[in-house]
Amino acid sequence: MTVIWTKDGIVESDPWIEGDAEQGPKLLSLADALAHAQDNAPFGVVLQPADDVTALAPILDRVAIVALSFPAFNDGRGFSQAALLRQRLGYTGELRAVGAVLLDQVPLMLRTGFDSFEVSHAPTIARLTENRLPGIDLHYQPSADSTDAGQGYSWRRTARANG
């Protein structure tokens, strides 16, 4: 089973689940997205870890969703891609982690700017459904999510209860 999870819970009938979009809108590769950006149909883009996210800059306002692929749970390039999308390119739309998404990575993904998750790992789905995340809400670095500053030193942040 594959579900889409956000901080609001499980998303029913998400149109973007990969390979599930015969009729619906499409998740395109970076090259296809750049080529089809002039089309009217809504589209999303799915990036692989080696893709340069900054190439999306010219078409980012036309993209309905960006998905970043984690081919393996320990391939951490997506964390930097997410940070760049949010903090460098100012992307405010949906940012989804797809692929090997596991529970202990989710809090870090949220902090780097992901806000939706395509999850297949059953124990992860169970914990996310209960909204029991294994994160730490005191942070030693600024990040892309909404946090509060003012914890002694400039680099520290505190998570917002409903951030």
């Binding site: 964390f79 202990d104 294994p134 030193y153």
Partner: protein, 556 residues
């Protein structure tokens, strides 16, 4: 030294609960061993040959007596009564039970310690000059910057799944005691023309199977840019470092394959976006962290000079110990004392719980409650009045901690090797012990003078063999242990990678080979003032190869 505030306490407590939850999920099978491995490693838990191992962080090698007593307590309660101080200024326990780990972490948290990022493919415990805050030659104390880096790198959301481990070292003098040129990032604190503090930034040094010295990519990075520039380096590495082969995944390979100019320009381009952002360090924050490391108020103790001279005269053993193990302090009435964890024939870096307690007590009594761990696997009391050296020496002697061999041939660095480590191909400890016994005579050691032997039991080079004046690398060949010897390595400001002499040696030949090398040096040196490394650099490897393998090998 730094003291936790409420935020730090809260963070470490949450980290312990997080790990407890991860262990529980592993035990119920919710996490596969494959997925659990990076999680436990990021909290210092290894699965070794015989048991789990816990590596506890000692940030920049600084601790107080209360923390040392806690380390002793953990050794006694959860291990077999000893611990092993490492080349990254940490301590390892070789026999704790996995089920005890959360309890150990809670005990550590009580004394403001943890095991965060002592392993795994993340930014590791930041190391620094073990004489920081006491050395006469430093520009300023490097530890406040190491502490800022420690905080910023802790559970960093972007940099917790790097291509490979990432090590940062900080020093603050021209004399490099932190081996910054063999780190992923090496920082040398310095002053610019106007007296402003900043760093020379070196990147992409490392040992392992491809030893490479770091390259200097910035001559002066202002201190307020420390975190923005480090972030730029990390981001470029995280995005572009190789992930297809773990042996080619360190930043040294990225720099090697991309070219240092190209990579530096990518880092600078990234930094241009970050430089004036929220990572810029406010002067007030730098000052606040520095305040924790304010230089100690040390009373004048001029009486020590006269007493010291008299004690040295009456006790040659004490005189030898002072000569080798006490270095000049910035305050003329004080010294920096190295407590050798290299007793003759002993296990390098090991300390018993009783010894740890003794060091804690002596640090309180004579050392202004400060202890350091060195990357050479010794301990240091950085602020001891000359007037207190004699009673300190007597007390250390009683605990077997007064070996007068700092920097000598028996002050050997060795990794745990095949006696403990799951990665090792060969034993390191028995090799170190045999060499130590062979050269244990104090007069002989003194005659040989400064000589660093470093031993690794596998190519990962935890024993720093590449930068040993004499390096020994254990390999496995046809099911048997074999030891390659290299010469001419150095981890200081004149860093160099040692060169392999030739075919390896069987375990029972290693000490003889070392003796041959030492005798060659003694016969070739211009006089006793020419150290081994200076002599090697003058005469090259050939005389040593000829002595080891016979003169016909030179042609080969």
């Amino acid at each position: 030294m730094y003291r936790y505030d409420e935020f730090d306490h809260g963070f470490v407590a949450q980290r312990v609960s997080q790990f407890r939850d991860q262990v529980a999920r592993r035990l119920t099978g919710e996490i596969s061993e494959d997925a659990f491995k990076p999680l436990r490693l990021m909290n210092g838990v290894y699965l070794q040959l015989h048991a789990y191992m816990l590596r506890v962080a000692i940030p920049y090698g600084t601790l107080n007596s209360r923390q040392m007593r806690k380390l002793a307590h953990i050794a006694r309660t959860y291990d077999r009564g000893y611990g092993h101080f490492t080349t990254r200024q940490n301590i390892q326990y070789n026999w704790p039970a996995l089920s005890d780990m959360p309890a150990i972490l809670e005990e550590l948290a009580e004394v403001e310690m943890h095991a965060i990022q002592t392993s795994g493919n993340c930014i590791r415990n930041v190391t620094a000059d073990h004489f920081a805050g006491a050395a006469a030659d430093e520009v300023a104390d490097p530890r406040p910057y190491a502490e800022i880096l420690r905080q910023w790198s802790s559970v960093h959301p972007e940099f917790s799944f790097l291509p490979r481990k990432f090590k940062i070292a900080v020093t603050a003098s021209e004399r490099d005691r932190a081996a910054i040129q063999v780190h992923d990032i090496g920082l040398q604190l310095k002053k610019d023309g106007e007296g402003g503090l900043g760093f020379a930034v070196w990147i992409a040094g490392g040992q392992g199977r491809t030893p490479i010295l770091a390259k200097k990519i910035k001559d002066f990075l202002p201190e307020e840019d420390l975190l923005s520039y480090t972030t730029a380096i990390m981001r470029v590495y995280n995005l572009h470092g190789r992930r297809d082969n773990k042996y080619k995944a360190r930043i040294k390979i990225l720099v090697h394959e991309t070219g240092v100019e190209q990579l530096t320009s990518e880092i600078d381009a990234e930094w241009a976006h970050l430089k004036d952002g929220e990572l810029k360090l406010p002067a007030a924050d730098i000052a606040a962290i520095n305040a924790y490391f304010a230089p100690r108020e040390l009373d004048a103790r001029a009486e020590g000079w006269k007493e010291l001279a008299a004690w040295k005269k009456s006790d040659p053993g004490f005189a030898t110990w002072v000569g080798r193990n006490v270095a000049p302090h910035r305050h003329p009435d004080y010294g920096m004392v190295t407590i050798s964890l290299k007793p003759i024939g002993g296990i390098p870096g090991d300390a018993s719980a009783d010894q740890m307690d003794a060091v804690a007590k002596l640090a309180l009594e004579f050392g202004h409650d400060e202890i350091r761990v060195t990357h050479e696997q010794n301990l240091v009391l950085p602020h001891v009045a000359l007037a207190d050296l004699e009673p300190l020496y007597r007390a250390l002697l009683a605990e077997g901690l007064a070996t007068a061999n700092a920097g000598l041939i028996t002050d050997i660095i060795a990794c745990p090797g095949l006696d403990y480590c799951a990665l090792a191909n060969a034993r390191s400890i028995p090799v170190a012990q045999e060499i130590s016994n062979r050269f244990g005579d104090p007069a002989r050691q003194a005659e040989i003078g400064d000589l660093k032997i470093k031993i690794s039991g596998c190519i990962n080079a935890c024993g720093h063999h590449h930068v040993g004046h004499i390096g020994i690398l254990g390999v496995e060949k046809k099911g048997a242990e074999l030891y390659q010897i290299s010469l001419g390595g150095s981890g200081d400001e004149n860093a160099s990678i040692g060169q392999i002499t030739g075919p390896g040696f069987e375990p029972d030949q290693v000490t003889d080979a070392i003796e041959t090398i030492v005798e060659t040096y003694l016969s070739q040196r211009t006089d006793a003032d020419e150290t081994f490394i200076a002599c090697y650099r003058r005469i090259g490897a050939d005389p040593f190869k000829a002595a080891l393998y016979g003169s016909e090998s030179q042609a080969a």
